[in-house]
């Protein structure tokens, strides 16, 4: 996982609240056995017409969205299904941070494991960012701060998730070295509960 420190980029804005993971990547694109290549199916239902032609009015199809690496979305982003294909698709498309006033639990957990920074800001900063489509935004993970013209807001993130993102380390390594403690727990449970 690539370490994340600070990122300045143009932001794509999707103001709708409650954008669920079925919108981020519809189920028909989940029939894969690898993580790669899902970016082209990102927001497929909104992004393409039934013939597969990009809809010019969808923000991701705007020429200014090219190279945008930050997504600003309405509240409760990523609700619904636990599919990690949602952050995989966002990262494959090039996004490295999602900013919202609230982010659904499972999506937030999945995002962190893929180097996608879930940024939860207060409602005032959120409103200001929603009003600046394709504006330049900076996400500073070290300082836990989002800046944009007229916006300077601290954001909250779990300290452990922040450390993993800053270092580019993954959690499985952290768990694997705890194997002796896990074995001890298993033995204690066996003693307690019997065969």
């Amino acid at each position: 996982m690539e370490p994340f420190h600070t990122l300045t980029s143009r932001a794509v804005v999707l103001p709708r609240p409650d954008i669920d993971t079925d919108q981020i990547i519809p189920a028909r694109f989940l029939k894969v056995t690898t993580r790669e290549g899902l970016g082209r199916s990102l927001f497929a239902g909104w992004r393409y017409d039934p013939q597969g032609v990009p809809r010019p009015d969808f923000p991701l199809n705007d020429p200014r969205a090219r190279d945008a690496r930050i997504l600003v979305a309405g509240p409760n982003f990523g609700c619904g299904s636990s599919r990690e294909h949602a952050p995989w698709a966002l990262v494959d498309h090039g996004f490295r941070a999602v900013i919202s006033a609230s982010i659904a639990d499972i999506f937030r957990t999945n995002a962190v494991k893929n180097g996608l920074v879930p940024v939860v800001v207060d409602e005032e900063a959120h409103r200001a960012l929603l009003a600046q489509p394709f504006g330049e935004v900076t996400v500073d993970l070290e300082a836990q701060e989002v800046t944009a013209p007229g916006v300077r807001a601290r954001f909250s993130i779990d300290p452990f998730a922040r450390r993993c993102l800053l270092d580019g380390t993954d959690e499985l390594g952290f768990l694997l070295v705890r194997s002796p403690a896990i074995a001890e727990y298993e033995q204690a449970r066996r003693r307690e509960e019997g065969p």
Binding site: Q23, L172, R178
Partner: protein
């Protein structure tokens, strides 16, 4: 916590701590049961293979196939086989389970079915345990007083490799349901009302513990329907304290404890309740007797109303963002503000899923369809949640009720709930579905989904339009699911 009085969540949480959380690090939480299916596991097994790590506890891991597999029956009576990319997922799961020593109930096995239907059915779901699966509807198992929640594929890998997850303790919310549900008002109507009340993000960060008179009166199937949709309020999980209804359900199930182990387990399970006076982080109360058969009208499960009611009017919504969301939902659904819900024409009825694909759900649907016909032009699909549900339904002749009414009787799987396997509603078509999500395109591109109970869905199949099941059902035959 300080005074020693603990919630059910606290008790389960504390008993599964390999190490407690600190400010800097989450807790290491032990997982008792890991359920695996073909769609969210291939990348996790690949990760283990790359690192040269085995599955730590294969005996705590159970796999089946449900999401991507066809549910169609061919002209020769055999089940259609997965093709293309779905076939690849199926064969990857077979290979992975073989290589890593994981028990697999594949298509063709009598124990195959939707992962959240077979877990309880096999007696794998135990009160007080921790259960995870790469599927958000893992919350279903909370009906047994288990802490059960959905995880992503990276975490599937974590659990395969270490039997543990890194977790922060969730907050607790009591959802107390007073009174009794009325005739034809089911657990599905109740959970839709709860989600409407909390909103689709109202449960975020919380585990919902359902309590109260109405909950105690529910069957296990109905409790599963309720806990299943906790995630639709944004909650991590739903919980119901186990009681005699729970123990009766589990007794003599294939994977339930036996003999002296059953007695020991029972003694432990009886302690699994929130201590009187224990503090919840939040509480809500619902009056069950005020509820009616309910349907969703919008594009998230929080947008629901009694089927006897009307489509809400966006201009009465004060909050501009909420008004725009409602306008957009009604546009997608092809509904006019203020129109009555009853009588709105529909094209498809889907009865099944991990929410409402159990035997009592099929009995409920059959109680409406018996001696009646699916309206002309309506396609009705009945998809049992598991092979065992299918076998039991056929043993009591329910399949004949469905077939005689003009519905399709399928093989078990997730089917039209998620539309991955080709079972789709069709663009612009309206479906009354007993599943859990009415998101745009959830049941196929352009599909318009009205979520409802099996009774309400069956009533719609007969009417060819949204309909109230009250009056169509003989009260004695009514299934409380």
């Amino acid at each position: 916590m300080g005074d020693g009085r603990r919630t059910l969540l606290d008790k389960i949480w504390d008993a599964h701590l390999v190490s407690a959380e600190t400010d800097d690090t989450p807790a290491v939480l032990y997982v008792d049961l890991h359920l695996v299916h073909e769609v969210t596991s291939p990348q996790a097994f690949a990760e283990l293979r790359e690192r040269g790590v085995p599955v730590r506890r294969p005996e705590r891991t159970v796999a089946t196939m449900d999401h991507a597999i066809p549910t169609r029956v061919l002209a020769d009576g055999r089940r259609a086989r997965a093709e293309g990319a779905a076939a690849e997922q199926v064969s990857a799961l077979e290979r992975n389970c073989r290589e890593f020593g994981v028990t697999l109930y594949p298509v063709g096995d009598g124990r195959q079915g939707i992962v959240h239907v077979i877990g309880p059915e096999l007696g794998l779901t135990h009160p007080g345990s921790t259960i995870v699966c790469g599927d958000s509807h893992t919350s279903t198992h909370g009906a047994f007083g288990a802490l059960a929640f959905g995880i992503g594929t990276s975490e599937v890998g974590h659990v395969l490799a270490t039997q543990c997850l890194l977790q922060r303790r969730p907050r607790s919310m009591e959802v107390r349901v007073n009174g009794r549900l009325g005739p034809c008002v089911t657990a599905k109507d109740l959970v839709l009302a709860i989600i409407h009340r909390l909103g689709v993000s109202g449960g975020t960060g919380h585990v919902l513990e359902y309590s109260g008179e109405a909950i105690r009166a529910l069957s296990m199937d109905a409790r599963m329907t309720l806990c299943n949709m906790s995630i639709e309020a944004g909650a991590r999980a739903g919980l119901i304290a186990p009681d005699d209804t729970t123990f009766e359900y589990l007794h003599r199930r294939p994977r339930a404890p036996k003999g002296p182990a059953w007695e020991r387990a029972l003694a432990r399970w009886r302690t699994l309740r929130t201590d009187p006076g224990a503090r919840f982080d939040a509480s809500v109360e619902i009056d069950a007797s005020a509820l009616e058969p309910t349907v969703t009208f919008g594009t998230n499960p929080g947008m629901s109303a009694p089927v006897s009611g009307r489509v809400p009017e966006p201009e009465r919504e004060r909050e501009p963002a909420a008004r725009r969301a409602l306008e957009s939902a009604l546009r997608y659904m092809g509904l006019r503000p203020g129109q009555p819900l009853q009588g709105h024409p529909i094209d498809v009825v889907f009865i099944g899923s991990c929410t409402n694909g159990r035997l009592s759900d099929l009995r409920a649907a059959a109680s409406v369809l018996r001696g009646r016909k699916v309206a002309e032009g309506v396609r009705a699909l009945v998809v049992p949640g598991s092979r065992e549900v299918k076998r039991a339904a056929e043993a009591e002749g329910l399949h004949r009720v469905f077939l005689e009414a003009g519905a399709e009787w399928r093989e078990p799987g997730c089917s039209m709930c998620i539309g991955m396997n080709g079972d789709q509603v069709g663009p612009g078509k309206s479906a009354v579905s007993t599943s859990n999500r009415n998101f745009e395109g959830r049941q196929g591109p352009g599909a318009r989904t009205f979520l409802a109970s099996p009774l309400t869905a069956a009533a719609a199949a007969v009417a060819g339009a949204l309909a109230d099941p009250r009056g169509l059902v003989d009260a004695r035959a009514e299934g409380r699911s």
